[in-house]
């Protein structure tokens, strides 16, 4: 009798555990959670792991610029403005600079727009320099470390090189005064002058509400194989061809314009977001700079991004396993793109789609207002928290000077 009840108890326990396991399987079956350090890291909560002090700069560095041109809130460089707003009301903000781990100076360097809406970076170095001079004279914290525990958001094309043309940006190099600071930027390319070690790469800003309103039911069958809308030749700036996108976009057009699997054109359809949700692969080739908002859109809409940009560093690369989500194609392999894409095994494609369906991945690419857990703001803070504690090289000995305040082009030294 006793053994009978034992067996019964064991059976009951077994079925209970099976039930739990089965439930977990069911949940996991839908959206595959990336196990290991990468996936969990997306859901880390930075609150309590770091403290950020926000400098109160005069409004000529931020509010007045925004007031002059409110278009800055909607273009793809708007992250600098939203990051400032987020930090002002975030729990990681501290009003006591003595206990701060990181210092943030809100300078909107990418808000000087042409009538077409493109930012002009010509005054940005002077603006940044003037802000840093202000910080270093009014607070002691800059001189303590010469900026090594400060971070700045520089979302423009080539980051802190402050130019939209790559050759000129390389010539300028990163602004001298930012040599020790941590840069939060959208640009990322390995072995490039404008990508500093220790920078945090972020996605470009894409308006979350607009993408939200264009969602279609998920059971709409994905019937477009490859989708792309954008320029292939930039006739205005690159009339000869071969400079824009290093010839990669032109190569895509020339090789695949007749291919029925490739829905590519220069149209601007109103159903752009809906079409992306009906596509399996979305091309994200480089343009004048390697990054593009298409990556964000592809991740949000569940379309597998096909990244064609050699040596690119993707946003939050230490937290998001991009190789498992996207397809990377070398620029020299563009003529074989159709072979590459059709020869990916079906299980791999299914797995990528499952990973993309993970909502934490989509959250990490967005800058929602108000901020939500797991979004890009939090990933930036997570990145900053992972760099703590600061090592000894950060704090300078008294009297030690590393930065050269007069280096750089003469034009940068003019006051702003």
């Amino acid at each position: 009798m006793g053994s009978g009840t034992w067996i019964l108890a064991l059976l009951v326990l077994h079925s209970v555990f099976d039930g739990i396991y089965g439930l977990e399987q069911e949940v996991n079956h839908r959206t595959e959670r990336i196990s290991g350090s990468a996936g969990d890291v997306l859901e880390d909560d930075p609150v309590g792991r770091l403290k950020v002090f926000v400098y109160e700069l005069p409004s000529k560095y931020n509010k007045k610029i925004l007031h002059k041109d409110p278009r800055c809130l909607n273009h793809m460089f708007a992250a600098e403005i939203y990051m400032h707003r987020f930090l002002l009301s975030s729990p990681v903000r501290t009003l006591n600079p003595e206990e701060a781990d990181w210092f943030y100076a809100p300078v909107y360097t990418t808000c000087d727009l042409t009538p077409n809406g493109l930012p002009l970076p010509f005054k940005s170095p002077r603006m940044m320099r003037s802000a840093i001079e202000l910080i270093s004279t009014n607070w002691p914290f800059w001189n303590r470390t010469e900026g090594a525990d400060h971070f700045f958001v520089v979302p423009h094309d080539f980051g802190a090189c402050f130019h939209y043309q790559e050759e000129k940006a390389i010539d300028r190099g990163i602004l001298q005064l930012l040599k020790r600071a941590t840069l939060v930027q959208t640009f990322g390319q390995r072995n490039h002058v404008c990508l500093k070690d220790g920078s945090i790469t972020i996605p470009p800003y894409a308006p979350p509400q607009k993408m939200q309103t264009h969602l279609i039911p998920p059971d709409t069958p994905r019937s477009i194989f490859v989708y792309f809308r954008g320029l292939f030749y930039d006739v205005g700036n690159d009339p000869e061809g071969g400079y824009y996108a290093r010839g990669a976009r032109a190569s895509v057009w020339e090789n695949f314009k007749n291919n029925p699997l490739f829905d590519i054109s220069t149209d601007h359809p109103t159903t752009y977001y809906e079409d992306m949700q009906r596509a399996v692969f979305c091309l994200c080739p480089l343009g004048w700079a390697p990054w593009s908002p298409r990556l964000v859109e592809a991740v949000v809409f569940g379309c597998i991004p096909v990244v064609i940009a050699d040596d690119i560093v993707l946003p939050f690369a230490d937290a998001i396993p991009w190789e498992e989500i996207g397809v990377f194609v070398a620029e020299e392999d563009v003529p074989k793109l159709d072979t590459i894409l059709t020869s990916i095994p079906i299980e791999v494609i299914l797995r990528k789609q499952r990973l993309l369906a993970n909502p934490s991945m989509k959250q990490a690419m967005l800058f929602p207002q108000p901020a939500q857990p797991g979004d890009a703001f939090h990933q930036i803070l997570n990145g900053l928290a992972r760099k703590l504690p600061h090592n000894e090289g950060v704090y300078l000995k008294p009297g030690q000077k590393i930065l050269n305040w007069t280096a750089g082009p003469v034009g940068d030294l003019k006051p702003w």
Binding site: H192, F225, T339
Partner: protein, 481 residues
């Protein structure tokens, strides 16, 4: 292509120049380049100087370039940076990786799709869509019972084939009940045999009348007959009334899975003729449920037949607009358990099928099967989504067509096509040539005859056409079943 490195030693050379009294040198070069550009008419790239003044000798070993560089038009003077220039060994990390500057546009020798790859891509898409359906689509689909009244006529093949193909694509288990007026005919049976569906071919022993009004009533009785068969055999599923002349979307069959007892859909009515310029707003040609803001059924949209009242077709094929009934049967779906004699949880607002239709009662729409029409569920986002369209296109009831749509023996008459895409041609001379050709062509086997028939351009004489028409109709009369 390590250009950055190559440019750096050049830069040093240039700055060395600058410090010398060659302060005027670079502006002079710039002016020279501008003049050359103005003369040649395009931008003259100063990369030429790189080639000429590069300190390292261009080595002849070219890289392993398998790509076909896009050939620039021969007028452009400087070639794109030739990949076979080897710069001096690059200084440390800075110039590894991607190079700034002009790159070739790589085009493969045959930039056209490969058929095997396209096939593979379609397999991938099919598999992905299956996975999508599995994850987001209907779970546990119930079988669908499709009720279609039909009869053998000229347009039957057209309509029934369309419906057949739609039903073959439905991913759920399906039974098709085809009720045929005039009894089971070989024509219909041959058409139905082409599908791989489970078809129940029911005869209905009355001929289809010619007047539209009578026709609608007969069709309603035919559908009732099918419903009785469902009841007798206790078939389980969702009943969809699919007329053979309607067009259905596949989403319809996913949407009807949501119905619990009786549902209503929006039907688009394609009876509108564009001939008279309609001023003012014409209301949406939709029949279906009308909902209030909270999604509850409050009434019905019907098709406004007043504008057409005088011009409505009275009998089949008279050329006027065919009007739908107030509420088409196609816009309703029901759970077959509503018809069973005993089914648990059968709602009380449905009439027993045995009492319906007797004593000459007119059944106009499925609402007459109910005691209370307010419990009908609106489907398709409360009727906002149109999932099927009604269109009655029928030929005259006395029109003839070849049996099974097979021309046997093949035609010997060559009929000039009335509309061809190429322009009107030339005069009588050419016509004479055709008259001669025609006799010649008739000797050829049938295939050639047909193609040469279509090649005839639009030169026609009325007399000839009338003559030919008579001949054609003779031939058809000979071939009628």
């Amino acid at each position: 292509m390590k250009q950055t490195a190559a440019q750096q030693p050049n830069r040093q050379a240039f700055t060395a120049f600058r410090s010398s009294p060659g302060v005027l040198f670079w502006p002079a070069v710039h002016v020279l380049c501008c003049l050359l550009s103005a003369a040649a008419g395009f931008r003259f790239s100063r990369l030429l100087f790189l080639l000429l003044f590069s300190p390292s000798p261009p080595s002849s070993s070219s890289l392993h370039h398998r790509h076909l560089l896009r050939q620039p038009p021969p007028a452009i003077l400087p070639s794109p940076p030739p990949p076979h220039i080897h710069p001096p060994p690059p200084p440390a990390a800075a110039s590894n990786g991607v190079v700034v500057g002009r790159h070739g546009i790589r085009v493969r020798p045959w930039p056209h799709p490969n058929a095997a790859e396209v096939a593979r891509a379609h397999e991938i898409l099919a598999r992905l869509q299956q996975e999508q359906r599995r994850r987001y689509g209907v779970k546990d689909p119930r079988p669908v019972l499709v009720v279609t009244p039909t009869y053998a006529r000229t347009f039957q093949a057209l309509h029934l084939t369309g419906l057949l193909h739609s039903l073959m694509l439905v991913p759920h288990p399906l039974t098709w009940l085809v009720v045929e007026a005039g009894g089971v005919s070989n024509e219909t049976a041959a058409l139905l045999a082409r599908s791989r569906l489970a078809v129940v071919h029911l005869p209905f022993h009355e001929q289809m009348p010619v007047r539209w009004h009578d026709r609608h009533r007969l069709e309603a009785r035919m559908r009732l007959h099918a419903l009785r068969v469902i009841r007798e055999n206790q078939l389980d599923g969702i009943i969809v009334f699919a007329d053979d002349s309607n067009v259905h979307r596949l989403e319809l069959f996913d949407e009807v899975q949501k119905v619990e007892w009786m549902g209503a859909l929006s039907v688009g009515i394609l009876a509108h003729s564009q001939r008279e310029g309609e001023k003012g707003q014409s209301p949406l040609p939709i029949q279906g449920p009308a909902c209030n803001a909270s999604g509850h059924l409050i009434g019905w949209h019907t098709f406004n037949t007043l504008p057409y009242a005088k011009k409505a077709a009275a009998f089949v094929g008279d050329g006027a607009t065919v009007l739908p009934m107030k509420l088409e049967w196609a816009g309703f779906v029901m759970n077959s358990r509503l018809l069973w004699r005993e089914a648990e949880e059968k709602p009380g607002w449905v009439r027993d099928l045995d009492e319906v239709g007797i004593n000459g009662e007119e059944i106009e729409s499925p609402l007459d099967l109910l005691k209370d029409a307010s419990s009908v569920e609106p489907l398709g986002n409360c009727g906002k989504k149109v999932l099927l369209w009604w269109l009655r296109a029928e030929a005259r009831s006395d029109s003839k067509f070849p049996a099974g749509w097979v021309m046997d023996p093949p035609l010997e008459i060559i009929v000039p096509a009335k509309r061809t895409p190429w322009p009107e041609a030339l005069p009588d001379l050419a016509f004479q040539v055709i008259a001669d050709d025609e006799d010649h062509v008739e000797v050829h086997p049938s295939k050639k005859t047909r193609s040469s028939r279509s090649k005839r351009s639009s030169r026609k004489k009325k007399k000839r056409e009338a003559h030919v028409d008579a001949q054609v109709s003779d031939l058809f009369n000979r071939q009628e079943k």
